[in-house]
């Protein structure tokens, strides 16, 4: 077919369009709706009596009401974390005693039996194995409880209600209401959350959603928050309240993340990314009874084990690097010690320490290994050499007490813990997320903004809390 006839066809289409007039679109839509309504009406029989009680609607009125919506959201989150923290204690202790107190010394004995040189034993068992063992014992139990619970809420249909509640706030912040959905995805994984922003059509609002997604706490960071809250916040109150208070602390950080999402969306939409919020309609799906066993199974396989595997594969090389850098001595001090000492001053300034900062650098590929790295570096640089021997002193009680001991030796205070919680919320995204942001935006500028903005905020806020705490002499 020639270009000539094509043009003719398009011309006559445009002429006819004039003829038909403006209301064509509406007429077509009307025809569509009329037909759909008629066909549906013929195919569906409704029961004669009016429904006495619509459970879905009643629940919706409650969970999306202005008065109860947010309290219910926070209460549900607290319940989930309380169950996670309470439930993870015992299996964590069991795993720690198995992997660290039993298997680790056995491996060292095996190394002796086979006449391994000290460095080989060190790299393999004190480096690679120990890092992997920490990851498993610290992360597996909370994840195995948290992910299925969260997935059950998702399957039940609660997430769109969360989006509904947050929509008003997002549009006030000049962002798209669907950002609530990508943010909720970010609570699982920020890289997935960034991809999920594709549901937002406006490029401006999508960029806001991408840049602020990192403020939704991801899989890799939950265990850090849960552990630090359990040890330092829960440890500071009477035992009966410990679980509840630690859960509240974790929720507090998550809610703070949501507030920061609003604040930074508001800031971006008034400075770098000016514009009006667009409207959209969100369908509230029916509540569906979740299939409990299938949900538990798939969230174990798809989320827990995948996240754990990612953490282990990152932890093994990290463990080797940490061990090696702690044992290669240059000028009388190991490389790790030199790095830690180098960063200690700045770390002190923002209420953290050199070990934590080195850990966050090591953990750029995966946030999951922050805690194991902190523990290994503390053990190796603070001279707690008996951990490697399995002397039993450190791991006699349960894993949390053992960790507490190690961190106290490392000079941790409540300020360190609180600022670590804050810094865990506010730091650069992991390298996978950074790469995803670049792939989605194809812009170095916005990738840099999304990467650096949280770190700058994190350093600023921890600097403020540290200065305040020191001014008032709290630490």
């Amino acid at each position: 077919m020639s270009a000539d006839t094509t043009a003719k066809l398009l011309d006559s289409a445009s002429a006819l369009r004039q003829e038909v007039g403006e209301n064509f679109h509406d007429a077509l839509a009307e025809a569509l709706y009329t037909d759909a309504a008629q066909i549906a009406d013929r195919a569906v029989t409704r029961p004669d009596q009016r429904r006495r009680f619509d459970l879905d609607r009643t629940i919706d009125h409650l969970v999306t009401s202005r008065m109860f919506g947010f309290p219910i959201m926070i209460a549900l989150l607290t319940l989930v974390f309380w169950l996670t923290i309470q439930g993870a204690n015992v299996p964590s202790a069991l795993l720690a005693s198995l992997l660290l107190d039993t298997v680790h010394p056995a491996l060292l004995d095996l190394g002796d039996m086979l006449h391994f040189p000290w460095w080989l034993s060190g790299v393999l068992f004190d480096g690679a194995y120990l890092a992997a063992a920490w990851v498993v014992s610290v992360m597996l139990p909370p994840m195995a409880i948290f992910f299925p619970l969260f997935t059950l809420l998702e399957d039940f249909g609660y997430l769109p209600r969360v989006a509904f509640n947050l929509d008003r706030l997002f549009s006030k912040a000049g962002a798209h209401g669907k950002q609530a959905l990508s943010m909720t995805m970010g609570f699982g994984c920020n890289a997935a959350g960034v991809v999920a922003t594709r549901v937002i059509d406006s490029p401006r609002e999508r960029l806001i959603a991408i840049i602020t997604n990192n403020f939704a706490i991801c899989n890799g960071r939950w265990p850090t928050l849960i552990m630090v809250s359990t040890i330092f916040i829960g440890g500071a109150v009477p035992a009966a309240l410990a679980g509840f208070v630690s859960a509240l602390a974790v929720v507090g950080i998550a809610v703070l993340g949501v507030l920061i999402t609003f604040a930074s969306s508001w800031f971006l939409s008034r400075t770098m990314l000016k514009g009006e919020a667009s409207v959209f309609s969100l369908e509230l799906p029916p509540y569906r009874p979740p299939r409990i066993w299938q949900t538990i199974y798939t969230s174990m396989i798809d989320r827990t084990l995948i996240v754990l595997w990612r953490a282990v594969t990152m932890a093994v090389p990290a463990g080797i690097v940490i061990w090696t850098s702690s044992n290669v001595i240059i000028g009388g001090e190991s490389i790790a010690e030199q790095m830690v000492t180098f960063l200690d001053g700045f770390g002190w300034l923002i209420g953290l320490n050199g070990v934590i900062l080195v850990a966050y650098i090591v953990a750029i590929p995966a946030n999951e290994i922050v805690i194991p790295t902190v523990l290994m570096l503390t053990v190796l640089t603070a001279g707690l050499s008996d951990v490697g021997e399995g002397a039993g002193v450190m791991f006699e009680l349960d894993s949390n007490n053992a960790i507490r001991e190690i961190l106290h030796v490392g000079g941790w205070t409540t300020l360190t813990a609180i600022n670590l919680l804050l810094f865990s919320l506010l730091h650069n995204p992991c390298s996978t997320t950074i790469l995803t942001i670049y792939n989605e935006t194809k812009s170095l500028k916005w990738t840099a903004v999304a990467t650096l903005m949280p770190v700058v905020m994190g350093i600023g806020i921890t600097l403020i809390t540290a200065t305040i705490a020191r001014t008032f002499g709290w630490v």
Partner: protein
């Protein structure tokens, strides 16, 4: 196509057993798809269980979640049913195909230019009226369609009685009632998809009537004649005419660059255009 349609009826009992649908076996192939006999598109409103149907057929575990907008790009997987291998493409959930958003554009472009052998439209039985908007739009584009009437259990729970036979008669395409998350209706769906793919079922789907607008009907008729002259054999002339009248820039572009013309030839063994193969997003 590598498969020919059997035209003769089985002659003896043994042959009948071999070809009996009950003996056909579903083999889930996951993502291991290199060659396939038929391409099946999976369309539907958001949150109707498309991904659940997708998982039930392919054995993949694409993340399913009870919220709309979860599948943001296309996911692909494969299965073998009987002797034929099928490639299944899960399209993003949309309420319409007017290409007002990226999702709608992806879904529409695939159904129009990807020319799937069968388009399965997953429909929420509890919200039939709204879901039918999309069904009617898909039926404007293709007549090789099957409606999977999903969530029948919930319709029951809400006290709704949905009559699949009435629906099939009105829509003019096969209807398969399902409860995908309990695997109910999957076998039936496979059989119908197979029958439509090989051409054993020929549908004459419902087309939107616009009789109450005379100027419009005249304009459509006039354009249809012109388009038919330009693109003989185009399967959805009327829809193209409607889109042109609605000032659809993409369809105009497709006419200009000839991609619409490609559809009027026997497109059954043309490859899927590269621009439709959007990167798969892991759940």
């Amino acid at each position: 196509m590598t498969v020919t349609i059997p035209t003769t009826k089985p002659l003896n009992a043994h042959a009948a057993c071999e070809t009996c649908p009950m003996n056909r076996h579903l083999e889930r192939l996951g993502v291991k798809m290199d060659n396939w006999d038929y391409v099946i598109a999976l369309a539907g409103n958001p949150n109707t269980g498309k991904s659940t149907v997708f998982n039930a057929l392919t054995g993949l575990r694409q993340h399913t979640g009870n919220w709309p907008g979860k599948t943001v790009a296309r996911a692909e997987g494969g299965f073998q049913y009987g002797d034929e291998r099928y490639k299944l493409v899960d399209l993003p959930g949309t309420y319409s195909l007017l290409a007002a958003s990226v999702d709608e554009e992806i879904a529409r472009d695939f159904i129009l230019f990807g020319q799937p052998d069968v388009t399965v439209i997953v429909v929420d039985a509890t919200r039939l009226e709204r879901n039918l908007n999309l069904v009617l739009q898909v039926l404007e584009i293709t007549d090789k369609a099957v409606v999977a009437l999903n969530l029948m259990d919930e319709a029951e729970r809400h006290g709704l009685q949905v009559d699949p036979r009435r629906l099939a008669r009105d829509l003019g395409v096969p209807i398969v009632p399902m409860v995908a998350r309990r695997n109910e209706g999957v076998k039936e769906l496979l059989q119908v998809v197979h029958d439509v793919a090989v051409g054993e079922i020929q549908s004459r789907p419902h087309r939107i009537r616009t009789t109450h607008h005379q100027a419009l009907d005249r304009a459509v008729d006039q354009l249809v004649t012109q388009i038919e002259a330009e693109f003989p054999g185009l399967p959805n002339v009327r829809w193209v005419a409607l889109r042109l009248l609605d000032d659809d820039a993409q369809i105009e572009q497709a006419i200009r660059d000839g991609s619409l013309g490609d559809l009027s030839r026997d497109g059954s063994d043309t490859a899927i255009p590269d621009n439709l193969l959007i990167a798969e997003v892991s759940a």
